[in-house]
Subunit: 556 residues, 2 copies
């Protein structure tokens, strides 16, 4: 592993583009900032990393995959807080009209510019008068909060309604809570995962794959009963981990110790940090370039109880690639309040509790005819009133203004045995940026060396995510070597989870190099001998070792 | 297989919702027409059908997966023709303002209302004055073409630009052509596939999963040299297939014969019809309910040379689920013309051709200093001029207006050996609607029967796409049976491509029924005996057969 630097970054980016791994989207049409393609090599890489992530969490045994639309009605994202809160501060250059993020303009002046308030940003820009990155002028308009969601309209004409492209997949898990709860036979804890596109209309996208306008997300929402102490097996992670706690100090300790010490404030957060680490290492992240950083209280959403980022070091410095947050009951409560639907789980008491009821109920004989289809709702409302309520009482129920008269109600005093109660589950959420992880595993796998005095670069990708499993090379395209090689190639492609590339042009050395460059773990060479004895040369990418094996014994 | 009818459709839809297979999205927020969730059971079903499709095409050996953004700049979809052509005729009710598709209003009056022109629709609506489906009035506004793409704005402020959500994944394959061509070492034929979301802002979505605003697509763009006759092995499909040719007649014959007879007009179209059929049957489509229908010339895009739909019969009648079109050179040419970039392949002649060149070239000594960095482009332009051109000549090259004077050019006459030529490949495109296919495989798998005198329904899903592979059931949750069952369950979940569900409540019979209802192929029951001899009961969904096997010999 060499040091990260700008020249190496340029060579890596060039290779990824040339070989069809990752490349700017719509480039023949002039491109579009913040949008990338996974090309003919990268497409399968993306798919495999994504599927490895799904398999990883499903192996826990109480996690299911769901898939929700990306187009989301206004009301859903209003309830979640995104309509009000999901924004950056923007200012426009009075000279050229180009929009810039206010914090980007002063990031050389302030170490944490993205945490500053609107007033603080205004003051700094006024004092330092930074140049416009587009035209060089220094004349800025008012700073305004710009919502970062992509807008669209669902439907046409007068019946059309406002919607957004989802900024995260998480809301789908919250709005589907009832269905997931039913699937798990109403037993906590359980989780739901979703992978797919998320969208963020960045004001000025930068840093290649790090800050995209459309990105591949993967999120788990794990629902727990806050009154039951979780039991997790931390013996899986014996090696100490680098942790930057919110007091700023870097400590190296096991996850178990960090949970016991209270550095990590909830055991399930710590447990998922371990599972996150396992996933990242399995897809090729170098453990020396991984750390966990705790959010400071000012940085964390107001409802979050603890939050840790998995940060990965690469060509762009330390970058947040995963966030693992304890979100309390915030999300389900927000959707409950917005919709009036119950998003709760039932907790059975160890022993039934005796509850004194002193209050009101409806008199069915009078209330039934008076309120008809709403009588049930009125009864629910009246039974929830305190004992000192007085009647008549006006109330809007389901959009209808009702008068509840003394004759409709009765006073009740009684005791009841209560077996349990409804409560809002808490949520622990590991949220992954798949593109950032793919970028970093490429960055960590990319190795520059020399071979026979020439520059030589390869990707040391783990087999589980290598976009091409094997390359099949006929020594020459004649005498039947090409036909045999093609037969082997097609046979390999038809096997489950195996993808082969047939490469016939150039010297064998050049073709090995081409395979190494995109991280193909194995090469198979078909030569004259193959035609007579049914054997081929099998070459390993990492060791360079070549062995002669029968075609029937290929290890795929 | 029973007959499709409305009552059965209601029971199936209810089961799919109750069990978390497919359900209306955002329902707690009042829902949104044309948007569906794949729930805790359906999520993995969607994933498996999608991945089976990818594996199916990759097994051909010359097909790669790519992944492009869904947000697409205006210029790309202007070039493809979608900005101009992708629309439905809409009219608004003058009473309530609700928008309706004009062809939907007259579909009871005309058998092919969706093929009618604007004038024809206007005339029919004026004559028959249909009622508004929303308010019942009969007073319609002007008919207007409504573009069906979802609009959005990429970026903020003055630097923002118009974009759309992609109506299909295909354009990504065309704009990436150069990268795919390079990947295949510049050798045709080859293909690129993409799966992911497509969007269509339907005016009035109907028919559940059939007409969605956001859907799962899967498309292959296969690039061929039109001058090379393709060779395909049709012996794979010995059984005759139901074909409705564009002369209206239904014929039953093998694909090979249909290609030989010219009923199917291009061999590659016929070959992909076979591959399409294989895929559909592998995921559970009933072959008796599958047919291929050829587009009539009026129905087909003007550039298409032949187009066949795979239609599947289910609760909504015969529905188009796959389109297999020969698109000629239309798409690549359209992007070439819009961008000025070359999207071509090189064809080497069998023997070099001698070509007479009579025309112009630049005089480097004069043109070099005059045009500097543009001199190369000017030379290219001048060499492309016909021999009867005259100078001076004005030309805009790369945005600069240039005067090409007589002194800048020289007359040339010479012969040259030409080894080959650039040409625009033709494209054959199989395009799949994954949601429609999932709907139909559920519809075909859903079987209603009786068991012990009670209604009993199950899904006879193929194992390869069953969303749950196995259910593990402790006979009772005590004496360690629950712990052993959980251990088996977690162990199965950690195996690649295996997903298990743990179900502990209710009688064993009820739990078998619950597993059958969502098509789980296998159930494992842990009982008292299991604790002593390490065996379990393995039950097969379709045969109902129960066998006693050792835990170490489970067939997963």
């Amino acid at each position: 592993m060499e040091e990260f630097n700008t020249e190496r970054l340029g060579r890596l980016t060039g290779m990824l583009k040339r070989r069809g791994v990752i490349l700017p989207a719509f480039e023949i049409h002039g491109g579009a900032a913040g949008l990338y393609d996974f090309g003919p090599v990268g497409g399968r890489l993306r798919n495999r990393v994504n599927q490895t992530w799904i398999d990883h969490w499903q192996s826990l045994g109480n996690i299911v995959e769901i898939s929700c639309p990306t187009i989301t009605p206004y009301s859903v994202l209003e309830a979640s807080g995104h309509v009000g809160e999901f924004s950056d501060y923007l200012t426009e250059c009075s000279e050229c009209g180009e929009a810039s993020r206010a914090d980007h303009l002063v990031e050389d002046i302030h170490p944490n510019a993205d945490t500053l308030s609107k007033d603080e940003l205004s003051k700094l820009i006024e004092e330092h008068n930074p140049q416009c990155p587009a035209c060089g002028a220094s004349d800025w308009g008012e700073i305004e909060a710009q919502n970062l969601m992509f807008n669209t309209k669902i439907g046409a004409g007068l019946s059309g309604r406002q919607g957004f492209l989802r900024p995260e997949t998480a809301q789908g898990m919250f709005t589907s809570f009832t269905s997931i709860y039913r699937h798990f036979r109403e037993r906590l804890p359980f989780g739901a995962i979703q992978t797919g596109k998320g969208y963020r209309n960045e004001i000025s996208p930068r840093q290649g794959m790090i800050r995209l306008r459309e990105f591949n997300m993967a999120e788990l929402e794990y629902f727990i009963d806050p009154e039951i102490a979780p039991i997790h097996d931390f013996s899986l992670w014996k090696n100490p981990v680098t942790l930057i706690a919110d007091d700023g100090g870097e400590v190296v300790m096991t996850l178990e110790k960090a949970v016991d010490n209270g550095v990590i404030r909830h055991p399930t957060v710590g447990y998922f940090m371990g599972w996150t680490m396992d996933f990242l290492l399995s897809v090729g992240i170098n453990p020396s370039f991984l750390r966990f950083r705790q959010h400071e209280s000012t940085e964390m959403a107001h409802y979050a109880q603890d939050c840790w980022d998995a940060e990965i070091l690469g060509s762009y410095g330390w970058i947040e690639c995963v966030g693992i947050a304890h979100r309390g009951c915030y999300d389900l409560t927000a959707h409950e309040e917005a919709t009036g639907q119950r998003l709760r789980a039932w907790r059975t008491f160890d022993e039934p509790k005796v509850v004194e009821i002193d209050g009101w109920t409806t008199d069915g004989a009078k209330a039934g005819p008076a309120f008809r289809s709403l009588a049930g709702k009125v009864n629910q409302f009246v039974e929830g009133l305190p004992s000192d309520s007085s009647f008549p009482l006006s109330q809007n129920i389901e959009g209808t203004d009702l008068q509840i008269l003394p004759e409709h109600v009765k006073r009740v005093q009684r005791t009841e045995n209560v077996n349990g109660e409804w409560f809002v589950p808490h949520v622990v959420e590991p949220a992954f940026g798949i593109d950032r992880i793919i970028w970093h595993l490429l960055d960590h796998s990319y190795t520059e060396t020399e071979k026979s005095g020439e520059d030589y670069a390869y990707l040391s990708l783990p087999e589980v995510i290598a976009p091409v499993d094997v390359t099949v090379l006929p020594l020459f395209e004649k005498d039947g070597m090409d036909l045999l090689a093609q037969k082997i190639h097609r046979d390999l492609c038809s096997r489950k989870n195996i993808f082969s590339v047939y490469d016939a042009s150039g010297s064998i050395g050049k073709r090995y190099a081409r395979a190494d460059e995109i991280g193909v773990p194995w090469c198979i060479t078909v030569d004259h001998e193959s035609l007579s004895d049914n054997t081929v040369t099998l070459r390993n990418r990492d060791s360079g070792e070549q062995t002669r094996v029968s075609i029937d014994d290929l290890p795929f």
